[in-house]
Amino acid sequence: MDNSASRSKSESTPVIEVEGLAKEYRVHDKPEGLAASVRSLFHRTSRVVEALRGVDLRVGRGEFVALLGPNGAGKTTFLKLLSGIITPSRGTARVLGHVPWVRENEFRRRFALVMGQRNQLWWDLPAAESFRLHREIYRIEPSRFTRVRDELVDLLGVRQLVLQPVRELSLGERMKLELVAALLHEPEVLFLDEPTIGLDVVAQHTIHAFLRHVQAERRVTVMLTTHYMKDVAALCERVIVITHGDILYDGSLADIVDRFTTHKIVTLDLDEVPSPARVARYGFPCEVRGPRVVLRVDRGRIAEVLPDILRDEGVRDVSVEDVPLEEIVAELFRSTRTRPVGAPAGAAP
């Protein structure tokens, strides 16, 4: 244990090392109807659900990783395993050189998990009291505690809220204070489970800027799950897509676009309303509304199609964009939903 702990300090060793990590849950089926319910008192049928099927992963110090996947894909299970809340069915994991589910205090002082809204803060007390408790349980030196707390609170602009009972705060305010509580002990690894869920755009932006700052300043290794592509685009260099408990994609955000899209979106504002047949020459018309046309054009053909359009049509305005990330990811999720269980993970058809 000591050996590996000291090894993890070297820059070359990954902060998170996962091999063949699998988690199976036993779930009980409760059939519909009263009679069936009575029968199930005597014969309970249960089946095994594979939430995670042998995942391999390495994450280096200071990386900012997004875990994407549809609901039930295994993202939260993965975070729970890495933070030691649950034990795996098979496989190994080391975070900062520790096996998470052994739950050594030395390990627990070096990472933080933010999962859900009512997490670490005491509901009926001001957040300042929860912070004080963290100072004790994480053994934070008082002067250091004050410095870190003030810095975090100012970064998120919540200084005036720390003395107000948490139950009186809004969702966004609570999440910001949860983040402060999680970072007071300056964890080296931070796990975030949907940190921006339900927040307005302003709060999302504040949290993005905050996380970027903290990660850059402290070289914290961050792994977050999210359904918002804005989170990913703003924060993460590396994206891991999980579906059905398998890693489907692991790479940069830019590569996802390259790898999983074959076309670009061309939006034209024309002088006059075109005939559908005419614009169909350039690409697939997704939308024709008056003089405004949205076309899907093969990426390879963009260079030859654009000059034609500009020469032959009366164009007022033109824009060429990548397919929105949301659509790519939604397509990625959809394409795997029908994939037979056990089929090799690969590019979407």
């Binding site: 849950y25 205090n105 408790l133 349980i137 030196e141 402290r218």
Partner: protein
């Protein structure tokens, strides 16, 4: 290697002895739990007032029982003794009863809020104990007024106060009653790792507790009932169980019903049960957390 990557700075906390440090954390938890509890002080005031209602019906009942019989005492208890006994069990139950403890633990297992205690370097049982001590302290601060008033009004029912050593044993038995009640209910709550809902188990426990703790009647009244084993009556058996120590025992000590060698044996049995339940509670926590997450998300 940068200074940032050193996991724990060698500050003065690390140098201080483990036990002292644990105590500091515990005291902070206690202080914060106290603050949290004070939010609900009004609720306590009402709850305390309600607690005195059942005792009034008990007094009426026993007055009726004594007026229907010509005997001056029943199983060694005069009418005054019975009233004093009920008032004293009310006091001991203010130490040993743990409203909401088992259900609260089971709920936090079910709704997942227990995960905080798996992620943070903090002991869950130590935390529960701090929360419960805080709960009791705030309760006593509020309840002392009605309690003092009732005991003052009813002082005529009590025999003269016992000698100093007996008072000390009485106080010790109250503290032990608190610990015993705490560990028994906390262990029941940990069953939430295995079953979805512990409320029916808790209900069964309360029922047994009500009968065998002396809450319903002094358990030495069971001495007249044979068990079938020659020379052993029901009271002899019940005194080896933990329940009586949460209501009957401290009251009986104050009233001088248990003395000498018998008193020390009873204290030893009580300490034994506190240790057994504390170990059971911790074992249930260890096994439970290992099992946690085997079912559902």
């Amino acid at each position: 290697m940068s200074g940032r990557s050193v996991p724990l700075e060698p500050d003065r906390h690390v140098a201080s002895p483990r036990l002292l440090e644990g105590l500091r954390v515990w005291c902070t938890m206690l202080a914060i739990c106290l603050e949290e509890r004070l939010v609900y002080r009004g609720d306590f005031l009402l709850g305390t007032a309600m607690r005195f209602l059942p005792i009034v019906t008990q007094i009426f009942l026993w007055t009726a029982v004594f007026s229907a019989t010509s005997r001056a005492d029943i199983a060694g208890y005069t009418r005054d003794d019975v009233v004093a006994y009920y008032l004293l069990t009310m006091l001991t139950r203010a130490f040993s009863s743990m409203p909401g403890l088992a259900g609260g633990i089971a709920r936090s297992i079910r709704d997942g809020s227990i995960k905080k205690f798996l992620v943070q370097p903090v002991d869950f049982i130590g935390f529960l104990l701090a929360a419960r001590v805080a709960h009791k302290l705030v309760y006593y601060a509020v309840a002392i007024v009605p309690f003092a008033a009732v005991f003052l009004l009813c002082r005529g029912y009590f025999p003269p106060p016992p000698d100093a050593p007996t008072v000390l044993v009485f106080l010790a038995s109250l503290v032990l009653a608190f610990l015993l009640g705490f560990f028994m209910e906390a262990t029941l709550g940990m069953l939430g790792f295995w079953v979805l809902e512990v409320s029916s188990i808790v209900f069964g426990y309360m029922l047994v507790q009500y009968l065998l703790s002396g809450h319903m009647f002094p358990i030495d009244m069971l001495a007249g009932i044979p068990t079938g084993i020659p020379g052993v009556n029901v009271a002899d058996l019940v005194q080896w169980l933990p329940f009586g120590y949460t209501a009957y025992f401290p009251a009986a000590v104050w009233l001088g019903k248990i003395e000498g060698e018998e008193l020390f044996r009873a204290l030893a049995v009580e300490v034994g049960w506190v240790v057994v339940m504390a170990i059971a509670c911790r074992a249930a926590w260890h096994r439970g957390t290992r099992r946690y997450g085997a079912f559902g998300g």
